[in-house]
């Protein structure tokens, strides 16, 4: 069953998501999106993923917001008289269809927090890492162990992506860094 904390967090997340979509002013939209990210960070923390919660708070609510603000500072922020965007009903219909199709698969899902799902009980998946991570890597935090040891190359690939994104941004903006 849903707990009161989850209910409050989800209501906050849903309201801020809708507000982000409907605010006409881009700056208002960005600020509400930062609040949305922060709400999600708390949800992640409640769902026992503090590492992800911290990353979301720092990157989703922090860096992404700064990047978006820098973009509207460098471009324009059109002035509007109306507070909210008019609702685009054809788009609502398309999105409603999408939501219905995706929701129809949810009947096959296990309930939230079910400890008896295949992924949780299969000895080769979660159970293996929880039991052997400390022995094999010497790290108590299994998330760190998987991130840095078992999926070390994956994390290296992630660093390459960040580097490539930095280079791509420099090229697009035409900055001559090494000139």
């Amino acid at each position: 069953m849903i707990t009161p904390i989850e209910l409050m967090l989800f209501v906050f997340v849903l309201i801020s998501a809708v507000a982000t979509a409907l605010f006409r002013d881009v700056l208002a939209s960005i600020v509400v999106f930062a609040a949305y990210s922060l709400g999600l960070a708390v949800v992640y923390t409640f769902y026992r993923a503090p590492d992800v919660g911290l990353t979301e708070a720092a990157i989703g609510a922090g860096i992404t917001t700064v990047l978006l603000l820098l973009t509207i500072a460098k471009t324009s922020r059109p002035a509007h008289e109306k507070i909210f965007e008019p609702i685009n009903w054809p788009a609502v219909a398309v999105c409603g269809g999408f939501a219905l199709i995706v929701s129809s698969t949810l009947f096959a899902f296990p309930s939230v927090g079910d400890p008896n799902t295949a992924a949780m009980t299969n000895p080769d998946v979660t159970v293996y890492y929880l039991e052997n991570a400390y022995e094999e890597t010497g790290v108590e935090n299994t998330v760190t162990a998987v991130l840095a040891a078992y999926r070390g190359f994956d994390t290296f690939g992630e660093a390459v992506v960040v580097f490539a994104a930095g280079v791509a941004s420099m090229i697009v903006l035409g900055r001559e860094v090494f000139a």
Partner: protein, 126 residues
């Protein structure tokens, strides 16, 4: 416990419904908003919906976070595997956002507009 009814869906799989809703709002922003920055915010929101899906699937009721002491005491623990994928995906996502915003700044410098419909007209007139 997998109740097949709609009521069972709402009471036991509510977090997945939030996932679908958030992804749908993100999709709506990408389709309906003409401002390119807001389209990118929508893309980010769709992404966070997927992240929430992974984190929810890692969650165990009354469990603790996946920090296992040397003697293996405690538990049940949340699954660390989806959490690691989401950590990676968040960083990759912000990289993509940065490139997208750089492209938007460049587009604005070239064409002087951030609206997708206005851009289409300007490019068609050339």
């Amino acid at each position: 416990m997998t109740d097949g009814s709609v009521l069972g869906l709402i009471t036991t799989r509510y977090a997945y419904l939030v996932v679908v809703f958030v992804a749908t709002v993100g999709l709506y922003m990408m389709i309906a908003n003409q401002n390119l920055v807001k389209k990118l915010i929508g893309l980010n929101m769709f992404q966070t919906g997927i992240f929430l899906f992974f984190i929810t699937s890692a969650y165990v009721v009354d469990g603790s976070s996946a920090i296992v002491p040397a003697d293996g005491a405690g538990g049940p623990f949340a699954s660390p595997l989806p959490q690691v994928i989401v950590l990676t995906a968040i960083v990759v996502g912000v990289s993509l956002t940065a490139v997208g915003l750089a492209l938007i700044i460049r587009l604005y410098a070239e064409y002087g507009t951030l609206r997708a419909d206005a851009l289409r007209e300007v490019i068609a007139d050339e």
